[in-house]
């Protein structure tokens, strides 16, 4: 098999790299890498001739680090010192790297990291060294941000592919923030997003946003899975509309845009915040093809009874093949895949450690 497709799986006890060809019928499972250590963030960087796997590794004892592999996991390197460090003046200490995201194609050495406690770090050398984005680190709202169940984490980074000064982030529980000046200032963009857990249901900030996704061809159109609530914005978050039309629950964590169609999005509804298993104990991915006007269940090949599964915010991913691959991993260590836009599902692994993140890459031809 000539591997062209990678599925990167971070778990509470290490990272796994699955590889396949374009057909995505047969898979090779490699791992665990970093056995015993939690991996909440993975990314694959193919800019500037790289073929670099980036992993945020967290040891329960020894803290969090960034590691690289330029040979698909056969060997690992990276800064020996803890590369992501809060300045002493902040009084903060790194707990976890929640998100790693290579920057825009025009900035091939830029990599972003979202971390806990909530902060955004930027690397200008491919991930070797990092600095905090001061405008967010020193944000006036910071003293009033509250940690969610996963901690006070910056888990989502959304780049405007056309405008290098614009990007957005999401924090649980602080909400969705956007900068239009390259990170110097950040404005909350949560109008219309409901907070069921606060007396004021529509505050300026404080929303428990679980994940945000968009398609690069229409970057201003955002889809947001909230702690209760499913929303769309058509104006980069200036306003949000409820799009929970026909889903069994609007609680959930994962949300992922289709790689080619900006109106197609996948979610995995969760029963409730008190009972965090898939709605009705039926493992179903829901898909909209009309930007949230309607949703339909995708369940062929997935267990439809006694499925007390849960999928975390980064546990759902798509690849970029013409017929998109869709993948998700559960907290019980099952990894499911579809190679046909979600129509039919197969099990790639059924006994991994609890899955924290799933990412993909389609390798550039060599």
């Amino acid at each position: 098999m000539n591997p062209s497709t990678l599925v990167l799986v971070g778990t509470t006890k290490g990272a796994f790299v699955l590889s396949s060809d374009d057909a995505r019928e047969e898979w090779t499972v490699d791992g665990p890498h970093f056995p015993g250590e939690a991996v909440y963030s993975m990314a694959f960087d193919q800019r500037a001739g790289r073929s670099r796997l980036l992993v945020g590794v967290h040891s329960n004892h020894w803290g969090a680090t960034i590691r690289f592999s330029d040979d698909l996991g056969r060997s690992w390197s990276g800064p020996e010192r803890q590369a992501i460090r809060f300045p002493e003046s902040s009084g903060l200490s790194l707990a976890q790297v929640w998100q790693l995201l290579p920057g825009r194609a025009e900035e091939p050495d830029v990599v972003w990291a979202g971390v806990e406690p909530a902060a955004l770090f930027r690397s200008d050398d491919g991930g070797e060294s990092w600095a905090p984005v001061q405008g967010l680190l020193e944000h006036e709202h910071r003293p009033r941000w509250m940690p969610g169940g996963g901690g006070l984490c910056l888990h989502t980074i959304v780049l405007d592919p056309a405008n290098p000064d614009r990007m957005a982030i999401a924090i649980s529980t602080a909400g969705f923030y956007r900068t239009d000046d390259g990170g110097a200032t950040w404005q909350p963009r949560n109008a219309g997003v409901r907070c069921v857990f606060l007396p004021d249901k529509y505050p300026e900030f404080g929303q428990c946003v679980h994940k945000v996704t968009h398609h690069r061809s229409r970057p201003e159109r955002l889809f947001l899975q909230n702690h209760w609530g499913l929303y769309r914005s058509d104006d980069w978050g200036d306003s949000w509309q409820d799009i929970a039309n026909g889903v069994p629950s609007d609680f959930g964590f994962a949300i992922q845009a289709h790689p080619h169609d900006p109106d197609t999005v996948y979610i995995i509804p969760i029963q409730s915040d008190e009972f965090r298993v898939v709605a009705g104990a039926q493992l179903r991915v829901y898909r909209t093809r009309d930007a949230g006007a309607t949703w339909g269940a995708l369940d062929a090949g997935l267990p439809q009874e006694h499925a007390f599964e849960s999928v975390l915010r980064d546990g759902l991913a798509v690849d970029t093949h013409r017929r998109a691959g869709v993948y998700f991993g559960t907290r019980s260590g099952k990894l499911y895949a579809s190679n046909d836009d979600g129509e039919r599902w197969t099990t790639l692994a059924d006994a991994l450690p609890p899955i924290c993140c799933v990412k993909t890459a389609v390798l550039a031809p060599t």
Partner: protein, 93 residues
């Protein structure tokens, strides 16, 4: 006499494989000792202390047979010839 800092196996790669680091300069406290270790092996101490200089939650340090948790923390005084042992806490999941 030197102060000895005994490392857990997981940290020996950050001290070129040494299981014990010998400190020749005098040091008054555990924090002083770790500062001396950091001069030679900064990546090792990154894994013991946070960037704010606090002992990581799931790391224990002993002076002789006593945990510094029950002494004076990182300010625990050490005598010449003392043995400091860094141990991962019994924790996990």
């Amino acid at each position: 006499m030197a102060v000895s800092v005994v490392l857990p196996r997981a940290l020996t790669p950050y001290a070129h494989g040494l299981g014990t680091v010998q400190l020749d300069a005098s040091c008054a406290t555990v924090r002083d000792a770790l500062s001396q270790v950091a001069e030679r092996w900064p990546a090792l101490v990154d894994r013991v202390l946070t960037e704010q200089g606090e002992l990581r939650r799931h790391v224990n340090i002993f002076v002789g047979d006593e945990s510094i948790t029950f002494l004076d923390g990182l300010s625990t005084a050490i005598d010449e010839g003392a043995t400091i042992t860094i141990v991962p806490a019994v924790s996990g999941g």
